[in-house]
Amino acid sequence: MAEVEESSKPLFAGLSDISISEDIPVEGDISVPVGSQSADNDFSTLDEPVKDTILRDLKAVGQKFVHVMYPKKSSALLRDWDLWGPLLLCVTLALMLQGGSVDSEEDGRPQFAEVFVIIWFGSVIITLNTKLLGGTISFFQSLCVLGYCILPLTVAMIVCRIVLVGGSGLVSFVVRLIVVTASFSWSTFASTAFLADSQPPNRKALVVYPVFLFYFVIGWMILTFSPSH
């Protein structure tokens, strides 16, 4: 094994010479576990009760929600990215946008699959665009950030649903418009606070525009949602 490590040095030595941004600890991941070396260290969580695992993951997700709602320049979202939060938010939003009745005349309401696909493929396209423009963020980190920043829009959806219970006149429309506009700008601002840091400074506008369009489309879907009853 020692020979392997040594003979692996010339292969992987170059990677550690690349300029690393300070707040992303790369060292821990470059030394990839060979065989059963780290089985005891990293995977000792296999023996804990399921409740502990779930609670820990939920706590991590909750912490990231807090980071989204009060976006300040922290790298926590980027460092421990996970896709549970985006999945949760995406499913919630898609379920709420579905409305329920299957064979109504107004088929213009987005269906579950439509919303799901829009969110995930939209995120993938924005990520690809960010990378093609020379960003230093990784694929899954970007997906994580974009997914978590849907949280304000989900909150707006809940508020809109509540407002619609009261009635669907002009006043409710104006209220919904304000709420959706506020939350969609909050989403855009929150995600740019994370994404734009990884861009060269004069190209931020090029990255922000697709994000704006993405959240605009989601916000528009929320705004034009009308329940079937």
Binding site: V26, E106, Q111, V117, I118, N129, I137, L206, V217
Partner: protein
């Protein structure tokens, strides 16, 4: 047998353990390393080239080792019967599985690396994009020597996505009902289909007419030509005046078409190739705007509503999935029938 096995294992040991561990590391950590590389450097292009090179070398090494092993296993199987075969078989199967996995990882890696092929086309500054957007509405004067066409894809892609968003808005406000399919799918299909399909078609015609334009330039040209469409649709989906639409269609649609046509003329020689190419492009571009406006428009429903009468056969009220030509024909015939009936 044991000697040959031993020899094989020892002969592959300086290779085998080396390559197994490192390559397993490589294929296992291909995912991890890519992320780390992305985290660390903006010049991940060179890193990926390095990884690619390394993977190629490893592939050659494994090809050699596999060839060596195949020779050995063939001999052993023939010579020793069942016992030798089982050991061989197990190892060979494991080898096959591992190589298949590695091949898949390499394929995925190559796919990832292929994105870098597009990277130079996204190398733009915001000010350049803004200038090109404005220039797309200004026809050039000089058609005697080839006009420069920027070969970038960021602007066109963003314009196509913007048009998808505007189209969605138009479809929703006009109460369009899509029977088989979804609103989003139709919008995306229409916009991307137009951009990619018409670009390819015009590129094919340009190839036939000996015009000097590459596919990338054609995509870029048509993409920026959609800027005019976006503005017209944005205005007229919200302000419903027919005359306003016709004026905007002629002015803005016309300007954007003229620009594309002028660029193409400057790159084509001979009057009839020019006529064919530019006539086709102008027709398609203007008709597309016309189609987009009328396909998702409230007034169509209004016309159908005013044709109530006892002698009129029942018409489909929700007429969105009927193509526009059939719709117009139906309207015209019903109007004439109504006129005839009322004159009697």
């Amino acid at each position: 047998m044991s000697a040959s096995q031993g020899s094989r294992s020892t002969s592959t040991e300086p290779w085998g353990s080396f390559e197994n561990n490192i390559i397993m590391q490589g294929s296992g950590s291909a995912v991890i390393d890519m992320e780390n590389m992305d985290d660390t450097s903006g010049s991940s292009f060179e890193d990926m080239g390095e990884m690619h090179q390394r993977m190629k070398e490893e592939e050659e090494v494994t090809a050699e080792a596999a060839a060596a092993e195949e020779e050995d296993s063939g001999e052993d199987g023939d010579f020793l019967g069942v016992k030798g075969l089982k050991g061989q078989l197990g190892r060979q199967v494991a080898d096959e599985v591992w190589q298949a996995g590695k091949r898949q990882a390499s394929k995925a890696f190559n796919l990832y690396a292929n994105i870098d092929i597009l990277r130079p086309y996204f190398d733009v500054e915001p000010i350049q994009v803004r200038n090109r957007l404005i220039e797309s509405l200004i026809p050039v004067r000089m058609i005697n020597f080839p006009q420069k066409v920027a070969g970038e894809l960021y602007g066109p892609m963003m314009l196509v996505f913007t048009m998808v968003a505007i189209l969605l808005h138009g479809m929703k406000t006009s109460g369009t009902v899509i029977r088989e399919g979804t609103l989003m799918g139709t919008a995306i299909g229409t916009c991307f289909g137009y951009w990619l399909g018409v670009s390819s078609f015009i590129y094919f015609l340009a190839y036939l007419c000996n015009a000097q334009i590459t596919m990338l330039q054609m995509l870029s040209l048509l993409g920026y030509g959609l800027f005019g469409h976006c503005t017209v649709l944005f205005i007229t989906y919200n302000v419903h005046f027919h005359s306003l639409f016709y004026i905007l269609w002629l002015v803005i649609g016309g300007l954007s078409t003229l620009r594309m046509v002028a660029v193409l003329i400057s790159r084509t020689v001979g009057p009839s190739p020019r006529l064919i190419l530019c006539g086709t492009l102008a027709a398609l571009h203007m008709l597309f705007l016309l189609y987009l406006h009328f396909a998702y428009h409230k007034m169509v429903e209004g016309i159908l509503d005013t044709l109530e009468g006892p002698n009129i056969p029942p018409i489909q009220r929700v007429a969105r999935d009927v193509p526009i030509v059939a719709n117009a024909v139906v309207n015209a015939t019903i109007k004439s029938i109504a006129a005839v009936v009322q004159s009697q």
